[in-house]
Symmetry: C2
Subunit: 466 residues, 2 copies
């Protein structure tokens, strides 16, 4: 007996009339007056469940089939036949249905065949993949992740897994999580009474990384095109709908490259990802468009079709000041753009993605390359309709003397960054890169309102129980 | 002017006679008596550097070209011509060489064109990707990672990123790193004087994960075929050459599957990976075979060609006891196999990879399925010549009553695992999976002696400076 996935059974890749077995979990059961039952079975291989038609002459029809409820696991064998129903290609005329697992107390099973609040589902994150929405989000997330790796591979990039546990703070700011094996009930102390981190696992104070950028730069200066795709951590802002304490980040870095090359890469990259989603996950995107965000498909298509606009920060400030629009936050050269400003630029002014370039040096990180005007750095933000900033990047300061001045200005200790300074002493080249939060990409693609629904298990106060 | 990678220039994909620009870092420079210089330039896109022939009539020949040393960054423009030298397809007859970055004080530049000790290179992990060995390891590592994602995608698996910060200990053992934002100099205390973790970031005590398995099982029970590929952490054994404190793990999980399905998956998976390396990274593997491990290529080929043997643990113990071989560690039913036993089985007895199955229940984890004999669990280890255990896996205990008994036996609190028990109450099915350490795979593929050389930046006491 050939075992096939629901995706294979529905897609027509199996010859009609063939006897097959499908396995999965019951979504719904409906008993017809004609004395047979229709059992919808999902195995997660695609959005749609398959309709299993169970005739009354099955040996276990009365005892088991008619007791099936949402969540029961079944193994159904029968013949694939073209479906009479709308939308479905094929259904299974069952000759046997074996129940692999029942649902204890169906009345209290958390995943009923009805709409659940997203707040409730976050509390049962281990069961939410059984819902239509989280099945779709999981498959779309997978599709995006695959496309990330495939895009870079096709372009000649190498994947670098940068350290998770680190002693350095890539941003020169940002709340970090401490990593330690010291016995907190009985901390070792130095003679001065301070916590003695020389007794800790690594012999010094260590934290969870906030970014792999500095580390991946070293590999860029040897392999030319590299990228990270790994988890990063921020111990802040975790009560908003836009921030996660634990999230995945993608950070490509290219050598012999300037800010324009960086913007070109960002544009090609995002278009490649959204194209992959529309081509490979049409079923899940149709559900998203129907239930979550009406224009989910058309806005991705528009994203792919339109060239990105590029605007200098200085020009963006003028445009905002002369827009006649009343903003909550002030617009002034030297201040960072707020989400409302970003969204006006991309949604109202241009109507498609915009790359804002060359920001004032005092509002950007120390490693960004100082422009010849001495006032701005070669930084960029990619803004997209419906979300605002989706990518942040920069050309890096490859001149050691300028970097040292910038570090001093930010109050950073050069000794702590000796290794980062090193590859600027040894064959330095112009290089650039960007970072984007993977969950932000999932949020945007799936039209989600809360970033906690874009990761398999959200980490936040009260949500770290798994 | 077309900019091409060294890989493109050498591969013949650019028409000979075409004017191109290559960019990279100098490996060596040799000045001929005929008044020209040969500069080998690497950009990391492939193993080989390209030979750039610099004639004396270049404007900067005396001032710059003749001062180039290892590590200098150059941009060379010229014509691609078939090479006179052995092995090389093409060389670049330069019409211009621009120096992008010099090396400060070439005498003390750590990466000289000579062999370096691996110990020394671990101390300069930010520069070691510029060596032949770490360039090769990085590209092979990338190739393996891509093949991991591609294999699972082609087989209909979905990638799940399981939590890094967690409250649960998947193994019921293992030293974990604590993650905290509490001020260690001034810890909050409960009335009883204990550290008050309710004041910590997540409102409870949290750790770095040792495995994503338990979490990914929940997704398996909804999407049927899933896998993790992410970092895991162990705060132990970090002083050996076989363990890392921070390493990447791959954990597939399949529903409606038993231990045989699991072993089949492991075999197909490993063969797919090694095939990808031999097909895609022949250049790097040739270097590995020449300099690191003589049989590096032939043993991967043998791995692909031969079917894996399967032996029951009980039979393996008999074989070892009757082998006539004197082992350092005792061999007795009920004891775990040591590396020397594993290597005898796979190298001496069978001469190819072996799957040892059905281990005594008391030496394996609580989640492994109890066999009908009541003495063994459906666990497997895949052993390979030259390394021993490379994969460990099991069928999971899907029966809640048996799981609860096993948890009690291991002294685990069922309340703490309520969510893990849950999906055994709701449509449980036989399921199985395995785990393999990604760096162990890199060690095996590249013939490395120390696992710290298999990850871009090793994390260990004294090696967490980046």
């Amino acid at each position: 007996m050939a075992v096939v996935s629901v995706q294979q059974a529905l897609s027509g890749s199996v010859a009609p009339g063939k006897e097959v077995t499908v396995r999965g979990w019951v979504r719904t059961r409906r008993d017809s007056k004609a004395g047979l039952s229709f059992v919808n079975v999902s195995d997660g291989s695609c959005f749609a469940p398959i309709q299993v038609v169970a005739p009354a002459d099955l040996a276990n029809y009365e005892d088991e089939v008619k007791r099936l409820t949402a969540g029961c696991a079944v193994i159904a064998t029968g013949t694939l036949v073209p479906s009479q129903g709308q939308g479905q290609g094929f259904e299974l005329q069952a000759t046997a249905i074996e129940v692999s697992g029942w649902v204890d107390d169906p009345e209290t099973y958390p995943i009923q065949p009805k709409a659940h609040s997203l707040e409730f589902l976050r509390e049962v994150a281990h069961l939410r993949p059984r819902t239509n929405l989280f099945g779709a989000v999981t498959r779309i997330r997978h599709c995006l992740a695959q496309a990330v790796h495939r895009f870079f591979h096709e372009q000649g990039f190498y994947w670098i897994s940068t350290p998770i546990i680190t002693t350095s703070d890539a941003e020169g700011a940002g709340q970090m999580f401490r990593v330690s094996t010291l016995d907190m009930a009985n901390l070792p102390r130095t003679g001065k009474g301070e916590v003695d981190f020389s007794k800790d696992f690594f012999g010094k104070e260590t934290f969870l990384t906030v970014s792999g950028q500095l580390n991946v730069e070293a590999y860029c200066l040897a392999l030319s095109k590299v990228y990270t795709f790994g988890p990063t951590f921020r111990a802040e802002n975790s009560h908003t709908t836009r921030h996660l304490a634990e999230f995945w980040m993608i950070e490509p870095e290219i050598a012999f490259a300037d800010l324009n090359d960086d913007a070109n890469l960002a544009e090609a990259f995002l278009k490649y990802l959204f194209k992959a989603v529309l081509e490979e996950r049409g079923d899940d995107m149709a559900f998203i468009a129907e239930r979550v965000q009406k224009d989910a498909i058309t806005r991705l298509q528009a994203f792919i079709d339109a060239p990105f606009e590029r605007i200098d920060y200085t020009e963006a400030v003028s445009l905002l000041q002369n827009s006649g629009h009343k903003f909550d936050y002030p617009v002034e050269w030297g201040l960072d753009l707020q989400t409302e400003h970003e969204r006006w630029l991309t949604e109202v002014h241009v109507g498609r993605p915009v790359v804002v370039m060359n920001y004032p040096e005092q509002i950007k990180a120390f490693y960004m390359r100082l422009n010849d005007d001495g006032r701005t750095v070669a930084a960029m933000d990619v803004l997209a309709p419906g979300i605002g900033e989706i990518i942040g990047g920069s050309q890096r300061e490859e001149r050691l003397d300028v970097l040292d001045r910038r570090m001093a200005q930010f109050g950073l200790d050069p000794a702590h960054y000796q290794w980062y300074r090193d590859f600027r002493r040894y064959g330095t080249v112009p290089h650039a890169g960007f970072g984007l939060g993977f969950e932000r990409l999932v949020v945007y693609t799936c039209g989600l309102a809360n970033i906690r629904d874009a990761i398999p298990y959200p980490r936040a106060p009260g949500l770290a129980t798994f």
